[in-house]
Amino acid sequence: MSAGLSLRGLSKSYVPGKPVLRDISLDFAPEGVTAIIGPSGTGKSTLIRCINRLVEPTGGKVLLDGQDLVPLRGRALRLARRRIGMVFQEYNLVERLSVMENLLSGRLGYVPLWRAWLRKYPEADIARAFDLLDAVGLPEHATRRADALSGGQRQRVGIARALMQRPALLLADEPTSSLDPRTAVEVMELLTTLTRREQVPVIINIHNVELAKRYCGRIIGMHQGEVVFDGPPEALQASHLTLIYGGEGWQE
Protein backbone atom coordinates (compact mmCIF):
# COMPACT_ATOMS: atom_id res chain seq x y z
CA MET A 1 0.00 0.00 0.00
CA SER A 2 1.55 3.26 -1.09
CA ALA A 3 0.71 6.55 0.57
CA GLY A 4 -0.61 9.44 -1.48
CA LEU A 5 -2.57 9.58 -4.69
CA SER A 6 -1.84 7.64 -7.85
CA LEU A 7 -3.68 7.81 -11.15
CA ARG A 8 -3.34 4.82 -13.46
CA GLY A 9 -4.50 5.04 -17.06
CA LEU A 10 -7.24 7.50 -16.14
CA SER A 11 -9.42 8.44 -19.08
CA LYS A 12 -12.70 10.26 -19.55
CA SER A 13 -14.91 10.85 -22.56
CA TYR A 14 -18.13 12.83 -22.19
CA VAL A 15 -18.94 11.90 -25.79
CA PRO A 16 -17.79 8.45 -26.96
CA GLY A 17 -14.76 8.74 -29.21
CA LYS A 18 -13.89 12.24 -27.98
CA PRO A 19 -11.70 11.72 -24.93
CA VAL A 20 -11.15 14.69 -22.63
CA LEU A 21 -8.55 12.81 -20.60
CA ARG A 22 -6.30 10.32 -22.35
CA ASP A 23 -4.66 7.62 -20.32
CA ILE A 24 -3.32 9.79 -17.49
CA SER A 25 -0.89 8.12 -15.10
CA LEU A 26 0.56 10.24 -12.30
CA ASP A 27 1.83 9.78 -8.77
CA PHE A 28 1.46 12.42 -6.10
CA ALA A 29 3.51 12.48 -2.94
CA PRO A 30 1.52 12.66 0.33
CA GLU A 31 2.70 16.24 0.81
CA GLY A 32 3.41 19.38 -1.15
CA VAL A 33 1.51 21.47 -3.65
CA THR A 34 1.15 20.39 -7.26
CA ALA A 35 -0.16 22.74 -9.93
CA ILE A 36 -1.91 21.59 -13.06
CA ILE A 37 -1.70 24.16 -15.82
CA GLY A 38 -3.10 24.11 -19.30
CA PRO A 39 -5.49 25.92 -21.62
CA SER A 40 -9.23 26.06 -20.91
CA GLY A 41 -11.08 22.95 -21.99
CA THR A 42 -8.04 20.73 -21.75
CA GLY A 43 -9.51 18.54 -19.04
CA LYS A 44 -7.95 20.02 -15.89
CA SER A 45 -11.29 20.35 -14.14
CA THR A 46 -12.36 16.94 -15.36
CA LEU A 47 -9.15 15.41 -14.01
CA ILE A 48 -9.70 16.90 -10.57
CA ARG A 49 -13.37 15.91 -10.52
CA CYS A 50 -12.52 12.35 -11.55
CA ILE A 51 -10.44 12.05 -8.39
CA ASN A 52 -13.36 12.67 -6.01
CA ARG A 53 -15.80 11.20 -8.50
CA LEU A 54 -17.91 14.30 -9.06
CA VAL A 55 -17.26 13.16 -12.61
CA GLU A 56 -17.28 9.45 -13.48
CA PRO A 57 -14.05 8.35 -15.15
CA THR A 58 -14.51 6.27 -18.30
CA GLY A 59 -11.54 4.07 -17.44
CA GLY A 60 -8.47 3.70 -15.26
CA LYS A 61 -7.79 3.78 -11.56
CA VAL A 62 -7.68 6.47 -8.88
CA LEU A 63 -5.65 5.06 -5.99
CA LEU A 64 -5.77 6.98 -2.70
CA ASP A 65 -3.44 5.38 -0.15
CA GLY A 66 -3.66 2.19 -2.19
CA GLN A 67 -7.48 2.08 -2.42
CA ASP A 68 -9.05 2.34 -5.88
CA LEU A 69 -11.87 4.92 -5.70
CA VAL A 70 -13.31 4.28 -9.16
CA PRO A 71 -15.46 1.21 -8.38
CA LEU A 72 -16.83 2.67 -5.11
CA ARG A 73 -20.57 3.20 -4.76
CA GLY A 74 -22.92 4.66 -2.16
CA ARG A 75 -21.58 4.72 1.36
CA ALA A 76 -18.08 3.54 0.43
CA LEU A 77 -17.81 6.41 -2.06
CA ARG A 78 -18.95 8.93 0.55
CA LEU A 79 -16.39 7.61 3.03
CA ALA A 80 -13.70 8.14 0.40
CA ARG A 81 -15.00 11.60 -0.51
CA ARG A 82 -14.92 12.88 3.02
CA ARG A 83 -11.16 12.34 3.00
CA ILE A 84 -10.81 14.59 -0.06
CA GLY A 85 -11.40 18.30 0.44
CA MET A 86 -12.30 20.50 -2.48
CA VAL A 87 -12.03 24.22 -3.15
CA PHE A 88 -13.99 25.63 -6.09
CA GLN A 89 -13.46 28.43 -8.56
CA GLU A 90 -16.70 30.17 -7.63
CA TYR A 91 -16.36 29.20 -3.95
CA ASN A 92 -19.66 27.23 -4.07
CA LEU A 93 -20.59 28.17 -0.54
CA VAL A 94 -24.19 27.56 0.40
CA GLU A 95 -25.15 31.21 0.11
CA ARG A 96 -28.06 31.24 2.50
CA LEU A 97 -26.28 29.46 5.30
CA SER A 98 -24.02 31.18 7.81
CA VAL A 99 -20.25 30.99 7.59
CA MET A 100 -20.24 28.62 10.56
CA GLU A 101 -22.82 26.35 8.92
CA ASN A 102 -20.76 26.32 5.75
CA LEU A 103 -17.68 25.33 7.69
CA LEU A 104 -19.51 22.61 9.57
CA SER A 105 -20.89 21.25 6.31
CA GLY A 106 -17.33 19.96 5.90
CA ARG A 107 -18.23 17.48 8.65
CA LEU A 108 -21.34 16.13 6.93
CA GLY A 109 -19.49 13.00 5.91
CA TYR A 110 -18.68 12.30 9.56
CA VAL A 111 -21.65 13.31 11.71
CA PRO A 112 -25.02 11.53 11.81
CA LEU A 113 -27.89 13.20 9.97
CA TRP A 114 -29.81 14.28 13.08
CA ARG A 115 -26.78 16.20 14.37
CA ALA A 116 -26.43 17.96 11.03
CA TRP A 117 -30.12 18.78 10.98
CA LEU A 118 -30.33 20.12 14.54
CA ARG A 119 -26.89 21.76 14.27
CA LYS A 120 -25.78 19.66 17.25
CA TYR A 121 -22.22 19.23 16.08
CA PRO A 122 -19.65 17.73 18.44
CA GLU A 123 -17.75 20.28 20.52
CA ALA A 124 -14.50 19.30 18.83
CA ASP A 125 -15.91 20.15 15.39
CA ILE A 126 -17.09 23.56 16.53
CA ALA A 127 -13.79 24.31 18.21
CA ARG A 128 -11.98 23.28 15.04
CA ALA A 129 -14.27 25.53 13.00
CA PHE A 130 -13.41 28.53 15.18
CA ASP A 131 -9.70 27.69 14.93
CA LEU A 132 -9.92 27.57 11.15
CA LEU A 133 -11.90 30.83 11.04
CA ASP A 134 -9.06 32.45 12.99
CA ALA A 135 -6.52 30.84 10.70
CA VAL A 136 -8.17 32.17 7.54
CA GLY A 137 -8.51 35.61 9.11
CA LEU A 138 -12.29 35.76 9.53
CA PRO A 139 -12.66 35.44 13.30
CA GLU A 140 -15.65 37.79 13.51
CA HIS A 141 -17.65 36.32 10.68
CA ALA A 142 -19.01 33.05 12.08
CA THR A 143 -22.65 34.09 12.14
CA ARG A 144 -22.70 36.14 8.95
CA ARG A 145 -24.48 34.73 5.96
CA ALA A 146 -22.15 33.51 3.24
CA ASP A 147 -23.73 35.77 0.61
CA ALA A 148 -22.72 38.81 2.68
CA LEU A 149 -19.01 38.11 2.15
CA SER A 150 -16.67 39.39 -0.54
CA GLY A 151 -15.10 37.04 -3.08
CA GLY A 152 -11.81 36.75 -1.21
CA GLN A 153 -13.61 36.16 2.09
CA ARG A 154 -15.78 33.50 0.49
CA GLN A 155 -12.78 31.63 -0.83
CA ARG A 156 -11.21 31.75 2.61
CA VAL A 157 -14.36 30.12 3.95
CA GLY A 158 -14.15 27.62 1.07
CA ILE A 159 -10.64 26.67 2.13
CA ALA A 160 -11.67 26.38 5.77
CA ARG A 161 -14.65 24.19 4.82
CA ALA A 162 -12.39 21.84 2.89
CA LEU A 163 -9.96 21.63 5.82
CA MET A 164 -12.83 20.89 8.22
CA GLN A 165 -12.90 17.48 6.58
CA ARG A 166 -9.36 16.83 7.87
CA PRO A 167 -8.67 15.65 4.37
CA ALA A 168 -5.92 13.33 3.21
CA LEU A 169 -5.89 15.29 -0.02
CA LEU A 170 -7.09 18.73 -1.07
CA LEU A 171 -8.25 19.50 -4.59
CA ALA A 172 -8.52 23.10 -5.74
CA ASP A 173 -10.24 23.89 -9.01
CA GLU A 174 -9.09 27.32 -10.20
CA PRO A 175 -9.31 28.72 -6.67
CA THR A 176 -8.05 32.16 -7.66
CA SER A 177 -9.59 32.67 -11.10
CA SER A 178 -12.57 34.67 -9.81
CA LEU A 179 -10.43 36.93 -7.65
CA ASP A 180 -8.55 40.15 -8.28
CA PRO A 181 -4.74 39.77 -8.58
CA ARG A 182 -3.94 40.87 -5.07
CA THR A 183 -6.61 38.74 -3.43
CA ALA A 184 -5.52 35.84 -5.63
CA VAL A 185 -2.02 36.02 -4.17
CA GLU A 186 -3.39 36.27 -0.63
CA VAL A 187 -5.61 33.25 -1.15
CA MET A 188 -2.77 31.21 -2.65
CA GLU A 189 -0.54 32.21 0.24
CA LEU A 190 -3.21 31.13 2.72
CA LEU A 191 -3.96 27.90 0.91
CA THR A 192 -0.33 26.81 0.76
CA THR A 193 0.50 27.92 4.30
CA LEU A 194 -2.48 26.22 5.89
CA THR A 195 -2.09 22.98 3.99
CA ARG A 196 1.59 22.85 4.89
CA ARG A 197 0.68 23.36 8.53
CA GLU A 198 -1.93 20.62 8.33
CA GLN A 199 0.31 18.44 6.18
CA VAL A 200 -2.29 18.01 3.47
CA PRO A 201 -1.11 17.43 -0.10
CA VAL A 202 -2.76 19.78 -2.61
CA ILE A 203 -3.52 19.54 -6.30
CA ILE A 204 -4.41 22.90 -7.83
CA ASN A 205 -5.77 23.69 -11.26
CA ILE A 206 -4.53 27.12 -12.06
CA HIS A 207 -4.44 29.47 -15.00
CA ASN A 208 -1.88 31.85 -13.60
CA VAL A 209 1.54 30.36 -14.45
CA GLU A 210 3.37 32.89 -12.29
CA LEU A 211 1.34 31.95 -9.22
CA ALA A 212 1.89 28.28 -9.99
CA LYS A 213 5.65 28.75 -10.20
CA ARG A 214 5.72 30.81 -7.03
CA TYR A 215 3.66 28.55 -4.78
CA CYS A 216 3.88 25.02 -6.15
CA GLY A 217 6.68 22.50 -5.81
CA ARG A 218 5.66 20.62 -8.90
CA ILE A 219 3.99 21.65 -12.11
CA ILE A 220 2.06 19.42 -14.46
CA GLY A 221 1.30 20.84 -17.89
CA MET A 222 -1.64 19.44 -19.83
CA HIS A 223 -2.57 19.81 -23.44
CA GLN A 224 -5.61 18.21 -25.05
CA GLY A 225 -6.11 15.68 -22.29
CA GLU A 226 -2.50 14.59 -22.02
CA VAL A 227 0.37 15.40 -19.70
CA VAL A 228 3.03 17.22 -21.70
CA PHE A 229 5.14 18.56 -18.84
CA ASP A 230 5.84 17.29 -15.36
CA GLY A 231 8.58 18.76 -13.25
CA PRO A 232 9.65 21.42 -10.74
CA PRO A 233 8.87 25.06 -11.53
CA GLU A 234 12.53 25.81 -12.32
CA ALA A 235 12.41 23.32 -15.17
CA LEU A 236 9.43 25.00 -16.83
CA GLN A 237 10.79 26.80 -19.90
CA ALA A 238 9.16 28.97 -22.54
CA SER A 239 9.30 26.02 -24.91
CA HIS A 240 7.20 24.00 -22.48
CA LEU A 241 4.63 26.78 -22.29
CA THR A 242 4.42 26.78 -26.05
CA LEU A 243 3.84 23.05 -25.92
CA ILE A 244 1.13 23.47 -23.28
CA TYR A 245 -0.71 26.53 -24.53
CA GLY A 246 0.36 26.60 -28.17
CA GLY A 247 1.45 29.74 -30.05
CA GLU A 248 4.21 32.05 -28.94
CA GLY A 249 3.14 35.68 -29.35
CA TRP A 250 1.41 35.82 -25.92
CA GLN A 251 4.64 35.10 -24.08
CA GLU A 252 6.74 38.10 -23.18
Partner: protein, 256 residues
Protein backbone atom coordinates in the same frame (compact mmCIF):
# COMPACT_ATOMS: atom_id res chain seq x y z
CA UNK B 1 -35.65 55.03 -49.08
CA UNK B 2 -37.43 55.27 -45.74
CA UNK B 3 -36.14 53.17 -42.94
CA UNK B 4 -38.51 51.82 -40.31
CA UNK B 5 -37.25 51.80 -36.77
CA UNK B 6 -39.98 49.44 -35.57
CA UNK B 7 -41.26 46.57 -37.67
CA UNK B 8 -45.10 46.47 -37.70
CA UNK B 9 -46.30 43.50 -35.65
CA UNK B 10 -48.96 42.06 -37.96
CA UNK B 11 -49.43 38.97 -35.81
CA UNK B 12 -50.40 41.02 -32.74
CA UNK B 13 -52.71 43.29 -34.78
CA UNK B 14 -54.41 40.28 -36.37
CA UNK B 15 -54.83 38.55 -33.02
CA UNK B 16 -56.38 41.66 -31.39
CA UNK B 17 -58.79 42.08 -34.31
CA UNK B 18 -59.80 38.41 -34.11
CA UNK B 19 -60.40 38.75 -30.36
CA UNK B 20 -62.61 41.82 -30.86
CA UNK B 21 -64.64 40.05 -33.55
CA UNK B 22 -65.08 36.98 -31.35
CA UNK B 23 -66.36 39.11 -28.44
CA UNK B 24 -69.03 40.66 -30.68
CA UNK B 25 -69.96 37.22 -31.96
CA UNK B 26 -70.20 35.77 -28.43
CA UNK B 27 -72.46 38.61 -27.22
CA UNK B 28 -74.93 37.96 -30.07
CA UNK B 29 -74.77 34.21 -29.49
CA UNK B 30 -75.57 34.59 -25.79
CA UNK B 31 -78.55 36.87 -26.46
CA UNK B 32 -77.15 39.63 -24.30
CA UNK B 33 -79.22 42.59 -25.45
CA UNK B 34 -79.23 46.08 -23.96
CA UNK B 35 -82.77 45.56 -22.60
CA UNK B 36 -81.63 42.36 -20.86
CA UNK B 37 -78.77 44.20 -19.21
CA UNK B 38 -81.11 46.93 -17.93
CA UNK B 39 -83.68 44.53 -16.42
CA UNK B 40 -80.80 42.55 -14.93
CA UNK B 41 -79.43 45.56 -13.15
CA UNK B 42 -82.92 46.52 -11.95
CA UNK B 43 -83.32 43.09 -10.32
CA UNK B 44 -79.84 43.44 -8.88
CA UNK B 45 -80.81 46.70 -7.20
CA UNK B 46 -83.85 45.13 -5.52
CA UNK B 47 -81.66 42.20 -4.38
CA UNK B 48 -79.13 44.56 -2.83
CA UNK B 49 -81.92 46.47 -1.08
CA UNK B 50 -83.13 43.25 0.55
CA UNK B 51 -79.62 42.53 1.80
CA UNK B 52 -79.54 45.75 3.79
CA UNK B 53 -79.13 45.96 6.72
CA UNK B 54 -77.06 42.81 7.31
CA UNK B 55 -78.62 40.63 9.97
CA UNK B 56 -76.21 39.33 12.58
CA UNK B 57 -78.98 37.88 14.80
CA UNK B 58 -77.88 34.30 14.14
CA UNK B 59 -74.29 35.08 14.94
CA UNK B 60 -73.77 31.71 16.66
CA UNK B 61 -74.46 29.80 13.41
CA UNK B 62 -72.24 32.27 11.59
CA UNK B 63 -69.32 31.90 14.00
CA UNK B 64 -69.67 28.13 13.99
CA UNK B 65 -69.48 28.04 10.20
CA UNK B 66 -66.56 30.46 10.03
CA UNK B 67 -64.60 28.48 12.62
CA UNK B 68 -65.23 25.30 10.69
CA UNK B 69 -63.99 26.96 7.51
CA UNK B 70 -60.83 28.14 9.25
CA UNK B 71 -60.23 24.65 10.62
CA UNK B 72 -60.69 23.13 7.16
CA UNK B 73 -58.26 25.69 5.69
CA UNK B 74 -55.56 25.13 8.31
CA UNK B 75 -55.81 21.34 8.32
CA UNK B 76 -55.79 21.03 4.55
CA UNK B 77 -52.88 23.48 4.24
CA UNK B 78 -50.80 21.59 6.80
CA UNK B 79 -51.56 18.22 5.22
CA UNK B 80 -50.98 19.57 1.72
CA UNK B 81 -47.66 21.17 2.69
CA UNK B 82 -46.38 18.02 4.40
CA UNK B 83 -47.31 15.87 1.41
CA UNK B 84 -45.99 18.30 -1.18
CA UNK B 85 -42.48 18.42 0.32
CA UNK B 86 -41.47 14.92 -0.83
CA UNK B 87 -43.55 15.29 -4.00
CA UNK B 88 -41.73 18.48 -4.98
CA UNK B 89 -38.33 16.91 -4.33
CA UNK B 90 -39.20 13.84 -6.37
CA UNK B 91 -40.60 15.94 -9.21
CA UNK B 92 -37.53 18.19 -9.57
CA UNK B 93 -35.76 17.12 -12.75
CA UNK B 94 -32.34 18.25 -11.58
CA UNK B 95 -32.37 16.02 -8.49
CA UNK B 96 -34.48 13.00 -9.41
CA UNK B 97 -33.93 10.64 -12.32
CA UNK B 98 -36.47 10.89 -15.14
CA UNK B 99 -38.20 7.66 -14.20
CA UNK B 100 -39.06 9.17 -10.80
CA UNK B 101 -39.70 12.78 -11.76
CA UNK B 102 -41.93 12.05 -14.77
CA UNK B 103 -44.59 9.99 -12.94
CA UNK B 104 -44.46 12.40 -9.97
CA UNK B 105 -45.08 15.33 -12.29
CA UNK B 106 -47.94 13.37 -13.78
CA UNK B 107 -49.46 12.86 -10.34
CA UNK B 108 -49.07 16.56 -9.50
CA UNK B 109 -50.71 17.50 -12.79
CA UNK B 110 -53.57 15.15 -11.93
CA UNK B 111 -54.05 16.92 -8.56
CA UNK B 112 -54.23 20.23 -10.40
CA UNK B 113 -56.35 19.15 -13.33
CA UNK B 114 -59.73 19.24 -11.58
CA UNK B 115 -61.09 22.35 -9.92
CA UNK B 116 -61.21 21.95 -6.16
CA UNK B 117 -65.00 22.26 -6.11
CA UNK B 118 -65.27 19.24 -8.41
CA UNK B 119 -62.81 17.38 -6.19
CA UNK B 120 -64.94 18.39 -3.19
CA UNK B 121 -68.06 16.97 -4.86
CA UNK B 122 -66.18 13.72 -5.53
CA UNK B 123 -65.08 13.51 -1.89
CA UNK B 124 -68.60 14.28 -0.63
CA UNK B 125 -69.86 11.37 -2.71
CA UNK B 126 -66.98 9.15 -1.54
CA UNK B 127 -66.72 9.89 2.19
CA UNK B 128 -70.03 11.63 2.87
CA UNK B 129 -71.11 15.17 3.80
CA UNK B 130 -69.07 17.27 6.17
CA UNK B 131 -65.71 18.79 6.88
CA UNK B 132 -63.70 15.64 6.10
CA UNK B 133 -64.59 15.94 2.43
CA UNK B 134 -63.62 19.62 2.44
CA UNK B 135 -60.28 18.96 4.11
CA UNK B 136 -59.53 16.15 1.65
CA UNK B 137 -60.45 18.23 -1.40
CA UNK B 138 -58.39 21.24 -0.35
CA UNK B 139 -55.47 18.98 0.61
CA UNK B 140 -55.41 17.64 -2.93
CA UNK B 141 -55.54 21.16 -4.33
CA UNK B 142 -52.75 22.40 -2.02
CA UNK B 143 -50.60 19.41 -2.90
CA UNK B 144 -50.91 20.13 -6.59
CA UNK B 145 -50.15 23.81 -6.18
CA UNK B 146 -47.28 23.75 -3.70
CA UNK B 147 -45.57 20.65 -5.09
CA UNK B 148 -45.48 22.16 -8.57
CA UNK B 149 -44.07 25.51 -7.45
CA UNK B 150 -41.68 23.80 -5.06
CA UNK B 151 -40.35 21.53 -7.83
CA UNK B 152 -39.87 24.57 -10.07
CA UNK B 153 -38.02 26.42 -7.32
CA UNK B 154 -35.73 23.43 -6.82
CA UNK B 155 -35.02 23.27 -10.52
CA UNK B 156 -33.72 26.83 -10.35
CA UNK B 157 -31.20 26.27 -7.56
CA UNK B 158 -27.46 26.53 -8.06
CA UNK B 159 -26.08 23.02 -8.56
CA UNK B 160 -22.64 24.34 -7.68
CA UNK B 161 -23.63 24.62 -4.04
CA UNK B 162 -25.07 21.12 -4.19
CA UNK B 163 -21.88 19.81 -5.78
CA UNK B 164 -19.80 21.36 -3.02
CA UNK B 165 -21.86 19.71 -0.29
CA UNK B 166 -21.75 16.41 -2.13
CA UNK B 167 -17.96 16.71 -2.39
CA UNK B 168 -17.66 16.70 1.41
CA UNK B 169 -18.89 13.11 1.47
CA UNK B 170 -22.39 14.04 2.65
CA UNK B 171 -25.14 11.48 2.20
CA UNK B 172 -28.21 12.16 0.08
CA UNK B 173 -30.32 13.50 2.95
CA UNK B 174 -27.49 15.67 4.23
CA UNK B 175 -27.11 17.06 0.70
CA UNK B 176 -30.82 17.93 0.75
CA UNK B 177 -30.53 19.57 4.18
CA UNK B 178 -27.43 21.64 3.42
CA UNK B 179 -27.25 21.98 -0.34
CA UNK B 180 -30.86 22.15 -1.49
CA UNK B 181 -33.25 23.29 1.25
CA UNK B 182 -31.38 26.46 2.28
CA UNK B 183 -31.67 27.62 -1.32
CA UNK B 184 -35.43 27.14 -1.51
CA UNK B 185 -36.61 27.43 2.10
CA UNK B 186 -37.77 31.05 2.05
CA UNK B 187 -39.59 30.61 -1.25
CA UNK B 188 -41.21 27.45 0.06
CA UNK B 189 -42.49 29.24 3.14
CA UNK B 190 -43.83 31.95 0.83
CA UNK B 191 -45.75 29.36 -1.20
CA UNK B 192 -47.16 27.82 1.97
CA UNK B 193 -48.43 31.14 3.27
CA UNK B 194 -49.95 31.95 -0.08
CA UNK B 195 -51.65 28.56 -0.10
CA UNK B 196 -53.00 28.98 3.45
CA UNK B 197 -54.33 32.33 2.32
CA UNK B 198 -56.13 30.89 -0.69
CA UNK B 199 -57.32 27.86 1.29
CA UNK B 200 -59.10 30.25 3.68
CA UNK B 201 -60.90 31.65 0.66
CA UNK B 202 -61.54 28.23 -0.88
CA UNK B 203 -62.79 26.74 2.38
CA UNK B 204 -65.68 29.22 2.35
CA UNK B 205 -66.84 27.72 -0.92
CA UNK B 206 -66.60 23.96 -0.47
CA UNK B 207 -69.57 24.11 1.94
CA UNK B 208 -71.86 24.87 -0.99
CA UNK B 209 -71.34 21.33 -2.25
CA UNK B 210 -71.73 19.92 1.26
CA UNK B 211 -68.10 19.66 2.25
CA UNK B 212 -68.38 21.66 5.48
CA UNK B 213 -67.71 25.24 6.54
CA UNK B 214 -69.47 28.57 6.19
CA UNK B 215 -70.34 27.83 2.55
CA UNK B 216 -73.08 25.45 3.64
CA UNK B 217 -74.61 28.12 5.88
CA UNK B 218 -74.38 30.63 3.06
CA UNK B 219 -76.05 28.29 0.59
CA UNK B 220 -78.88 27.51 3.03
CA UNK B 221 -79.46 31.24 3.63
CA UNK B 222 -79.67 31.80 -0.14
CA UNK B 223 -82.24 29.04 -0.50
CA UNK B 224 -84.38 30.50 2.28
CA UNK B 225 -84.11 34.00 0.73
CA UNK B 226 -82.58 35.25 4.01
CA UNK B 227 -80.70 37.89 2.08
CA UNK B 228 -79.90 39.97 5.15
CA UNK B 229 -78.23 36.94 6.71
CA UNK B 230 -76.44 36.32 3.40
CA UNK B 231 -75.06 39.84 3.65
CA UNK B 232 -73.87 39.18 7.20
CA UNK B 233 -72.08 36.02 6.05
CA UNK B 234 -70.49 37.74 3.06
CA UNK B 235 -69.24 40.62 5.22
CA UNK B 236 -67.72 38.13 7.67
CA UNK B 237 -65.96 36.26 4.86
CA UNK B 238 -64.62 39.50 3.42
CA UNK B 239 -63.34 40.53 6.86
CA UNK B 240 -61.63 37.16 7.30
CA UNK B 241 -59.94 37.33 3.91
CA UNK B 242 -58.81 40.92 4.55
CA UNK B 243 -57.22 39.95 7.84
CA UNK B 244 -55.59 36.89 6.26
CA UNK B 245 -54.28 39.03 3.41
CA UNK B 246 -52.80 41.54 5.85
CA UNK B 247 -51.14 38.89 7.98
CA UNK B 248 -49.72 36.91 5.05
CA UNK B 249 -48.47 40.09 3.43
CA UNK B 250 -46.63 41.01 6.61
CA UNK B 251 -45.12 37.54 6.96
CA UNK B 252 -43.98 37.41 3.34
CA UNK B 253 -42.41 40.83 3.66
CA UNK B 254 -40.55 39.71 6.76
CA UNK B 255 -39.22 36.71 4.85
CA UNK B 256 -37.57 38.71 2.12
Amino acid sequence: MTRTAFAPNWTARGALLALALYCVFAVTQLDISWARVLTGFGEGGRFLARMWPPNFERWDTLVEGMLESIQIAVLSSVAGIILSLPLGLLAARNLSPAWVSAPTRGFIALCRSLHYVIVAILFVKAVGFGALAGVAALTVASMGFIAKLFAEAIEEISMKQVEAVRATGAGPFAVLLYGVLPQVASRFVGFCIYQLDSNLRNSTLVGIVGAGGIGGTLFAAFKRFDYDFVAAILLSIIALIFVAELVSGRVRKALQ
